[in-house]
Symmetry: C2
Subunit: 417 residues, 2 copies
């Protein structure tokens, strides 16, 4: 009772003017309104195509159980202790070997640092590379949380449009020439080349190689974010950009979130040892080290061959969902709506006729029982209103079909106006 | 062979001028030289009193095994998935209840956010509260990694000396008056009031209350870092400062690192919901969420009553080590050397006669087979040379005795000069 009273008082009658203690930069940090809206959706019976979550059915729970038991029996003293900032060495070794074998990328453990998820890698890259005003090229659209992470460091974002073959490198080259004329330089090109978030498209090999040539010519760093690369449901694999990186310009980001489980928050950076060294110093002051227990589990998962055995099972689980979404879009969407046909990953990107604002339409869609993420926030300049991201990994096929049907109805009504 | 050749080439002949891509702030980030030196020590047969690690014998491995099994059986879908940025709700509820019962602090889950260790909490506090030039008061000496975390945000540090009763609040008051005359304000006072790192001393109740009065009068925020509070080997408990915090000025930091295991990297912040909200937005862009798997384990550990049952066992394990160190210091140290007598925690702080530089002396100590952390780096202004931190939790009693004996010999030789 006493507690309740005091808690109530505290919320109703603030004792401090809280805002005045915040830093200038913190005052500018706002919660995403979309995220707030979608929080409500997740508790209702709306079919949500808005998420970005892997399906829990893909988590290898039994394998994790066995590994965890073994870790506690044989490696407890190490797995429960502080670790080095750079990461658990056997895991770094195993990841280097895995990348060598799988992608033909000649790296060793000195090129690898583990991180608390890929999100931390993005923040550390911001911290280590971005001065206020530095030009960062991003795809349009691009990963929302990468924009958030970089934004803190106050770069200037330049957008390069995507098409079905990924980032349009010809447009990038034009932009680079233009900037050069103005005496400006690009510091970083950030790309998710494979099964892009949010667009689902994949950069072809020719463009990957061309991007590296441009990096050398115009002297920039490439940040290659590859969370979805292993989730291919059709088509031929393309190697990561890092595989052709002769000069060491590519900072590659990997993660266990989609090939083991996101709850472990284990990502990694593969880059030149000189870059790794500085990223390590930066990481030391933000969280000392990545969760050791989860790193040891991830090590056993890679080193024991479980990873390579489990990936096909995830693919088998997601492929019908991808197919179901593409089929439903084909079946229900009115003329004038376009969408990408991803060969892998988690997302389809839809473009509605000009004039429809998907942010304004969201409430109507939710009223009809379906949710999506309006595309605006995926553009650094927030200049495109008629797009949306649709997730196909989290809800089962029949719900995907029903969700797309409801969405198509909403769009048709909107188009009639 | 091909790999080896390419790796060798890469290290010997840099293909890029790496430094030029770094941000201004990153160029200023340096690895600690002491840390580098101590890395070497840890692989040799030197007795290291330099660490800050809990003893692995205190990790409740069996309990963790049981809990982990239960978590994977009953909560796998949740424990392996992404979580909310603010943290796993049942854990936040359990922590609020635990703090209410143990410390009589009237809080609920809205006052709590979990973090990737306390180190992340320190970084987030820097991000959310510190503008360049803001005045942050720290104890002299204080926790090294807190200085590192705050430093990135470019505050001005003001040092307040410690004595056997913790931070000298009279000196703080004088300093506050002085600053006020200059038209300056303190933004944050950072304190580790209980079993301080590195000094081992505890702020008495009277000073805690006085500090709160000063906070109200001079309008600053108190960051109360309490990683060691539960590790009391003698004397009477003192409540956290947060227990008397009527105005909501105290941001309290807790951690599981010393009462469960550091490898889980689970800490928490208890503060006004308005502060928590902003810290949550900041955390979102740095790592999305804290390791869910470890949070669920920590929840079961608190909620199942294991925490309260395990703390006495940790105390039982560490007390003889604390006693052994104090006894050995008494037995071997020459006149002119002073040290603190901690009632808990992990560290003793020793002060040698003026004129001895413990950083310069370290190499000689290592040659004699003992290591410590030179005190200089624990001072924001690096203005004290004749102190050192000695850890008593990691090595067994007989080694502590031998280590202190070797250290005393080193000091005696140094004093003869």
């Amino acid at each position: 009772m006493e507690l309740e009273k005091r808690l109530k008082e505290k919320l109703e009658a603030p004792t401090l003017d809280y805002e005045k203690y915040f830093s200038e930069k913190a005052l500018g940090m706002k919660a995403s309104e979309i995220r707030e809206l979608l929080k409500l959706v997740e508790t209702s019976d709306v079919i949500s195509l808005a998420g970005g979550l892997p399906a829990p059915e893909t988590f290898p729970v039994e394998i994790i159980g066995e590994i965890t038991k073994e870790v506690l029996e044989k490696h407890a003293a190490q797995a429960l202790q502080y670790g080095t900032t750079k990461g658990f060495t056997p895991l770094r070794l195993a990841l280097a070997e895995w990348m060598r074998e799988r992608y033909d990328i000649p790296i060793s453990k000195v090129d690898i640092m583990t991180t608390s998820g890929s999100q931390q890698a993005l923040d550390l890259i911001g911290r280590v590379f971005i001065n206020p005003g530095d030009i960062i090229v991003v795809e349009a659209p691009t990963y929302l949380a990468a924009l958030q992470a970089f934004k803190y460091y106050e770069p200037e974002f330049v957008q390069i449009p995507l098409d079905d073959e990924g980032m349009n490198v010809d447009l990038l080259e034009e932009k680079l020439q233009e900037l050069e004329k103005e005496g400006k330089k690009v510091k970083i090109v950030y790309t998710i080349p494979t099964f892009q978030n949010p667009a689902g498209v994949t950069m072809n090999e020719k463009r990957r190689k061309r991007l590296l040539e441009l990096a050398s010519q115009y002297d920039f760093i490439i940040v290659e974010d590859n969370p979805y690369g292993e989730l291919r449901y059709s088509g031929e694999p393309v190697k990561p950009i890092k595989a052709w990186d002769e000069e060491g310009r590519v900072i590659y980001l990997g993660t266990f979130s989609k090939i083991l489980a996101p709850g472990f928050r284990i990502g990694w950076i593969a880059a030149e040892p000189h870059f790794i060294r500085k990223l390590e110093i930066a990481k030391q002051s933000v969280d000392l080290c990545t969760n050791t227990f989860s790193q040891v589990i991830a090590w056993k998962y890679v080193e024991g061959g479980y990873l390579d055995k489990h990936i096909p099972k995830i693919i088998e689980f997601y492929k019908p969902r991808r197919d179901a979404m593409l089929k439903a879009l084909e079946e229900f969407m009115p003329d004038g709506v376009k969408w990408t046909k991803p060969e892998g990953g988690m997302f389809v990107w839809a473009t509605l006729p000009e004039g429809i604002d998907t942010k304004l339409m969201l409430e109507k869609a939710v009223a009809k029982g379906v949710a999506y993420v309006p595309g605006e926030a995926f553009f650094a300049h927030r200049d495109v209103k008629n797009t949306m991201r649709l997730n196909f990994t989290y809800v089962p096929e029949e719900k995907i079909r029903e969700g797309i049907k409801r969405l198509a109805e909403t769009i048709k009504e909107e188009m009639k106006k």
